[in-house]
Amino acid sequence: MVEFYEFSYTLIAILASWSMYATLYGKPSPFRSWAESSFIGFTMGLNLVVTFFYVLRTGWEPFLRGNWMPVMGIILGLLMILRLFPKYSYISRVPIAISLGTNLAISLRTTIFTGFINQIQATIVPFWVPGNLYQSMLNTTISVSVVLMMTFFLYSTEFKGPLKYTSKAGEYVLYIALGAVFAQTFMGRLGLLVGYMQSITDPAWKVPYTLSFAVIVLAGTVVLDRYGLLEKYSD
């Protein structure tokens, strides 16, 4: 026996999911418009609540313990809104400046290691690993590909001399890589699709509702399209 709580949200969820899938019909649709406005509205409401509690815990509570700096974040955050009012927007430049400088600092100070130095270190590997043909192949391919592709992504020099050949080779290597990356990306989207389909069909009591809502939304879309009302009733 399913509780009413779960039953009620499941029904709405199934309707919302098929409404969202109505996008695939290729035309604007009121189902899609409803699902999308719900998505935006509820997400913003959720973010507002959860972020409020974060600010309360991290900005306000330390202040009660005597640390005044985090609370400045709240004040500066309020000043940030002035950016939308041209007359007072100059005040918002203070929070923008502090936020930009600090954000740049925390990201740049470490990204130079993880994103550049460590990547070079990981590329300097022996081509031949004794007794391990696969690893040797892997090391060689990675190192050579990285160098070739780096020459392909040069923009301040003409592709002349040796660069002409390395950049061309880099382009070929890049396309091999893109094929593999495409497949990996596809796997992710597919995993989500299958995983979501599971959540609206498992346990089995959901199946009749899932299938009937699919028919209702599809039929509704086709009928509205027949009478040319899709555009009129969507946003």
Partner: protein, 264 residues
């Protein structure tokens, strides 16, 4: 592993500090120097001109966007705006209607007024100020996916001859590119992360990979700051290539000097 320690620099961070400081020095030097750094003309620019030309021939509009501007004026958005300005000039010159969907993030509220100014300016430069119509630059939504659907809807109802999408974009770029292809528009995209590059390469007619869009922007603007950035990045690529090649040679003779230097 660190080769040396110099007080008061934290152990193992000397190379990082030097490389970071060097970016400042090189970029500032290139920006202030008398001679502008050279940036080559990337093929993407030709693709854009062809696309606009085809729209003109067919008498159809061009849809161009500078992206979602997720964090305001970021790396990709600055390039996207320069490209938009170029496309606007091409459209003004050939009396082709230009549609610019805007919005998509919190940052987009701030970027949009600048974009409007840029397009208006482009029309003025070509002496076609009267053709500029701000209603052709609608603000679709402040939310990412609603911008995506709005954008797709715009393509479906206007059936443009070409669609050029530069700047920062995310997952929904794939949907837009597919719809654009469906309505028969020449589709040019500039994805910003590798998962999207592969997907958009399949859905578009031309894809500006990596920093091609940024380089195109720098080439078009001829602004010292943008040109210097591209040059600095290239110098770092050369540094990277050099270190890797040197590392190989030293690894072959069983020395890990480069690794040690990099860990210093």
């Amino acid at each position: 592993m660190a080769l040396i320690d110099i007080y008061p620099i934290q152990s193992g961070k000397i190379t990082g500090l030097i490389l970071l400081a060097l970016v400042f020095v090189i970029t500032l030097y290139l920006m202030s120097g008398g001679k502008k750094p050279y940036v080559r003309r990337v093929p993407g620019l030709d693709a854009m001109e062809d696309a606009v030309g085809r729209s003109t021939e067919m008498g159809k509009p061009v849809v161009a966007s500078y992206g979602w501007a997720f964090s305001g004026f970021d790396y990709w958005t600055v390039a996207g705006l320069t490209i938009l300005s170029h496309v606007a000039k091409l459209c003004a010159k050939t009396n082709t209607r230009l549609l610019v969907p805007t919005g998509g993030s919190e940052g987009s509220y701030i970027v949009r007024p600048v974009a409007v100014e840029i397009v208006k300016n482009a029309y003025d430069v070509e002496g076609k100020g009267d053709l500029f119509n701000e209603n052709d630059m609608p603000f679709l939504s402040g939310s990412q996916f609603a911008m995506g659907t709005g954008y797709a809807g715009m393509l479906l109802s206007n059936r443009p001859g070409s669609m050029i999408m530069a700047g920062s974009s995310a997952a929904d770029a794939m949907m837009i590119a597919e719809v654009s292809n469906q309505v028969g528009a020449i589709t040019i995209t500039a994805p910003t992360y590798i998962g999207n590059v592969a997907a958009l390469a399949c859905a578009s007619d031309y894809v500006m990979i990596g920093e091609e869009a940024v380089a195109a922007g720098a080439y078009l603007s001829q602004e010292p700051a943008q040109l210097a950035s591209i040059r600095t990045q290239d110098i770092y690529k050369f540094i990277g290539i050099g270190l890797i090649l040197l590392g190989w040679v030293l690894t072959a003779v069983s020395s890990n000097l480069i690794q040690q230097i990099l860990s210093t």
